[in-house]
């Protein structure tokens, strides 16, 4: 504890003078490209994330065209996709798989991991905990540029002749290990692995920074039981990332060995392309264990930041404290810990021991408890609020709806016996697109609408935001809800077409509807992209605290410079959820307002620490007591 205290004070002195930082000579290169300012880096992540989201989304539109309108002539895509469109105007079957694979990879890693955590952890951690910047601005910059390098490699793989990785985003060997098995497992797979290795480095650099910053650089008075739930969520996300990503790294490394150096970690007894391979003794299942040891926590890496963002936005716009603050922290912790012990529920029917399946079913269904607690707490927060529907609030409510609808189908899939039938059907596609994909995506969009004024000093257009929300919200449900029915009917995922089977011959009209809804939903995102870039330059000027929010970032100048606060860093006296406190003059009391200034609304136990704040070391932090 002592060490931490000293360190935080050192950081305080080190980052002390805002003016000095502001007047550093900054060239274009150091200000916008190789910037060490967390705010710039977060914008870099955000804009890269939007770019990737558009690519990932377009890929899904192309394969949705194939699924919804199998007879459609796609000749007009030839200028873009070239040889992947056959003579007859059909999509190449292998390229269909490549698109499914790349859509998954891009959305999960490049959009919802880098785009979400990268943006909001970077932007909000220093601003909400009252720090000048991240613990290491340099590592933070490296984190972005490793991500950039990773992006370049992944993007390149889309354009090579043999096509990008095509074995599904889970890249199960032997399919992904053997170029004989499919052309995407050649150079495309190599690039995928290289790109992911770079991505993991980026993610680790970022996560270590987030953890360090949250632990060491909180302003005086800001104990861990006073930080906004966003910070808890980002902190725990980073912890999950640090523990889980290295395992994916090892899996990728062993796969590289199998592919290039003739080892047999994952390969055994294979006869392919007219010859028996020499590999024996490996285990294909081992890879799945390693992959899902990251893969499942990854779901929460994607989801927790969104939940944190939502908690903040729902409380602010309901004008109510978040209900059960400590229970919310508890459930975040519960989810974090449990997320590491449920991975094998992705593998119930891989031939894994049925007994192991039982254990993982048990652990999986337990994780529904903290999730349920979160939902009930959100609902109670809305109850008897005075709710203002900003676009961010709409998206947050949408997120909670997805979290419920998608979470509930998890209870089906976590139950081994039911999973036998539903595994790898459209039911699971519906499940994870709602609970992980759409929910996290809505969290990200909500965050952008909410913190846009802080990022760019201007407001996004609210009306366009409303249209964006309603089209997206209805659209997402129209796309993914019907997939439950298709899944119950047994339709397997990753099928190029269903015409080969009598059992899967129905639902053509449903698939057509889904594809149409997907196209409209995607169109609505273009509206958002327009709103976003237009508002950066032409949006209405923002006020200092447009949402009447309590957290520290709104005490900084409208466009904070490098160092965030001119002069002293604000001190914190209270938790971040004093909304509509009985007796208070306004319906919010920011965290930096001392209790001595609000005698009319103080609860019995609420009073300022004895000594005058600001005296070096005089304040006893809660943490030191614990």
């Amino acid at each position: 504890m002592e060490a931490i205290d000293i360190k935080s004070r050192e950081g305080e002195i080190h980052h002390g003078d805002y003016e000095q930082m502001e007047h550093h000579h900054e060239s274009f290169l150091t200000k916008y490209i190789f910037s060490t300012d967390h705010k710039t880096i977060s914008k870099q992540f955000l804009i890269s994330g939007i770019f990737w989201a558009l690519i990932g989304g377009s890929l899904s539109i192309v394969f949705r065209l194939q699924l919804g309108f199998p007879d459609l002539n796609l000749q007009w895509l030839q200028p873009v996709l070239g040889g992947w469109i056959t003579e007859t105007g059909k999509l190449d079957t292998e390229f269909y798989l490549a698109m499914v694979t790349m859509h998954g990879t891009i959305m999960v890693f490049f959009v919802l991991t880098a785009g979400l955590s990268g943006t909001f952890s970077n932007f909000l951690i220093p601003l909400q905990i009252g720090a000048r910047d991240m613990a290491s601005g340099f590592l933070n910059m490296l984190s972005y540029w490793f991500f950039f390098a990773s992006s370049v490699v992944m993007l390149t793989s889309l354009f090579i002749e043999t096509g990008p990785a095509s074995g599904g985003w889970v890249i199960y060997p032997p399919l992904s290990a053997l170029p004989q098995a499919m052309s995407g497992s050649g150079l495309g797979m190599t690039l995928w692995l290289v790109s992911m290795a770079l991505f993991i480095i980026s993610s680790l650099l970022g996560s270590i920074n987030y953890i360090t910053t949250v632990i060491n650089l909180r302003t005086e008075g800001l104990s861990m039981t006073r930080v906004p739930l966003t910070i808890w969520a980002f902190f725990l996300t980073a912890v999950i990332g640090v523990l889980a990503f290295p395992v994916l790294f090892s899996a990728a490394l062993l796969l590289i060995f199998d592919r290039s150096f003739g080892t047999s970690f994952f390969l055994s007894e294979i006869y392919i392309a007219g010859e028996a391979l020499p590999n024996v003794g490996g285990s294909a299942i081992l890879f799945q264990h390693l992959f899902w040891f990251l893969g499942h926590p990854e779901v929460y890496i994607v989801l927790l930041p969104a939940l944190g963002i939502t908690s903040e936005i729902i409380a602010t716009n309901s004008r109510k404290p978040i209900f059960g603050y400590r229970a919310m922290i508890g459930s975040l912790l519960g989810i974090t810990i449990l997320s590491f012990v449920v991975w094998a529920h992705h593998m119930f029917i891989t031939g894994m021991s049925p007994f192991l399946g039982t254990i993982f079913m048990f652990l999986t269904l337990i994780i529904a408890v903290p999730s349920a607690v979160k939902v009930f707490n959100y609902l109670t927060t809305l109850w008897k609020g005075n709710i203002i529907f900003t676009p961010a609030m709409l998206f947050s409510i949408g997120l909670v709806s997805f979290f419920i609808s998608g979470g509930i189908t998890g209870i089906y899939l976590g139950n081994t016996a039911i999973d036998i039938q539903l595994h790898d059907t459209y039911f699971i596609v519906a499940h994870f697109h709602i609970v992980m994909g759409s929910a996290s995506f809505f969290g990200m969009v909500a965050g952008i609408y909410h913190w846009f004024p802080k990022m760019f000093g201007r407001m996004m257009d609210a009306k366009l935001g409303y249209i964006h929300f309603w089209v997206s919200f209805v659209g997402v449900y129209m796309v993914f809800f019907p997939m439950h029915y298709i899944g119950m009917a047994g339709f397997p995922r990753r099928y190029y077409s269903f015409t080969n089977f009598d059992a899967f011959s129905g639902f053509t009209d449903m698939n057509m509807m889904i594809s149409t809804a997907a196209i409209i939903t995607f169109g609505a995102q273009l509206l958002f992209v327009f709103n976003f870039f237009y508002s950066i330059f032409k949006g209405r000027k923002a006020t200092a605290n447009p949402w009447g929010s309590n957290t520290l970032e709104w005490t900084a100048p409208i466009k904070p410079g490098h160092g965030n606060w001119p002069g002293k860093i604000p001190l914190v006296y209270r938790w971040p959820y004093d909304y509509s406190k009985p007796g208070a003059k306004e319906d919010f009391i920011p965290q930096n307002v001392p209790f001595s200034q609000t005698p009319e609304s103080n609860l019995p136990h609420e009073k300022d620490p004895e000594e005058t704040p600001g005296d070096e070391g005089a304040i006893v932090l809660d943490e030191a007591k614990e």
Partner: protein, 347 residues
């Protein structure tokens, strides 16, 4: 020409939208209407949540009810009835939670929308409530866990001794099956012995291989336990027989298994569905390459007598490919001829 017109039209449309948007913004600025904190939009959004609630649930109930037979598959195995029951019990519980929580989630925004002069209730926590909604879900989930556990352990229990054994092997991009033949014992295999004809890599040093047969169509007896011995020879595949509620991955180098009891013959099913074309099918559900979507295998379920008749009519693989007799060790050649039903060594 038509394309150019299309592009021009699209550009024109975008320009018009942009202009409308800009005018709208400027008008707002002039009116000062976007300065007022909360306008009519708030009411509209609150109302839309109510509309969404009613419309969404309306569609959900309507479709779920009217199309029930369309999206539920008839079940044709003993354990399938159990998993289906579990599915519907889960649906009852989850459906209830789904409806209640989503109802509250959309009703509250409507009911508690911003009103001038209102103040939200300061209600930061309540340990009793937290405790209730931790413990109640935990209890309900435990019930589902124990129910599911029971079904799962029955399904994955060891297959009965008398089960009919069928080996099913996935490869890019088809399934192949092998039956043990009259001796009811499958011969050994080795992936190094695979060639263009011997797809299984059957090992003819093992005398159990001599009468194994590999039919064109898969037949199974109704009402008797069947054990699928599943394997793959190149990449992962997954055996999925939707009507039997059966799915198990096929893994190279690691044989897997799944046993079940078919309860309806193909003919029964045709009568039930009124579809004389009906066939049971096996599909692949683990991505395996370009032909993943075409790995269809037809399964025929016969009455037991029919099945026995069919079984006894099948010719051993060796008798169809007699030149593989050369791979049989000399001391077993006599036996091989006998079991394969051949008269003499082929010349």
């Amino acid at each position: 020409m038509f394309n150019i017109l299309l592009i021009l039209g699209a550009i024109l449309l975008i320009v018009i939208l942009l202009v409308v948007f800009r005018v709208h913004t400027l008008v707002n600025v002039m009116r000062g209407s976007d300065k007022g904190k909360i306008g009519t939009s708030n009411k509209v959004n609150a109302f839309l949540f109510l509309v969404f609630l009613l419309g969404g649930f309306g569609l959900f109930f309507w479709y779920s009810y009217t199309h029930f037979d369309y999206y539920t598959l008839p079940v044709a195995s003993e354990h399938g009835v159990l998993t289906d029951n579990l599915f519907w019990v889960t649906t009852a519980i989850c459906g209830f939670v789904f409806i209640v929580t989503n109802f509250l989630l959309f009703y509250f925004p409507f009911r508690y929308q911003y009103k001038e002069g209102n103040k939200a209730t300061f209600y930061p926590d309540n340990s009793k409530l937290e405790l209730i909604w931790t413990i109640v879900p935990a209890i309900v989930l435990s019930i589902l866990i124990f129910y599911g556990w029971k079904v799962w352990s029955d399904i994955t229990d060891v297959a009965p001794e008398e089960a009919e054994v069928v080996e099913i092997m996935g490869y890019q991009f088809a399934w192949k099956t092998r039956y043990p033949g009259k001796d009811k014992s499958l011969g050994n295999y080795d992936f190094r012995l695979i060639d263009a004809e011997n797809l299984f890599g059957m090992d003819f040093r093992d005398k159990a291989s001599f009468d194994d047969f590999s039919p064109r169509e898969v037949h199974l007896p109704k009402g008797k336990p069947v054990l699928f011995k599943i394997r793959a020879r190149d990449v992962l595949h997954s055996v999925f027989a939707p009507h039997f509620r059966l799915k198990m991955d096929a893994v190279p180098g690691m044989p897997t298994r799944f046993w079940f009891v078919p309860t309806k013959s193909t003919q029964d099913m045709r009568d039930e569905l009124g579809n004389p074309e009906f066939n049971y099918e096996i599909a692949c559900t683990e991505i395996c390459g370009r032909g993943h979507f075409s790995m269809r295998l037809v399964v025929v379920v016969d009455e037991p007598e029919e099945y026995d008749k069919w079984y006894n009519e099948q010719e051993p693989w060796l008798s169809k490919n007699p030149h593989y007799l050369a791979k049989v060790p000399n001391n077993l050649k006599e036996l091989a001829l006998l079991k394969a039903g051949l008269d003499k060594m082929p010349r």
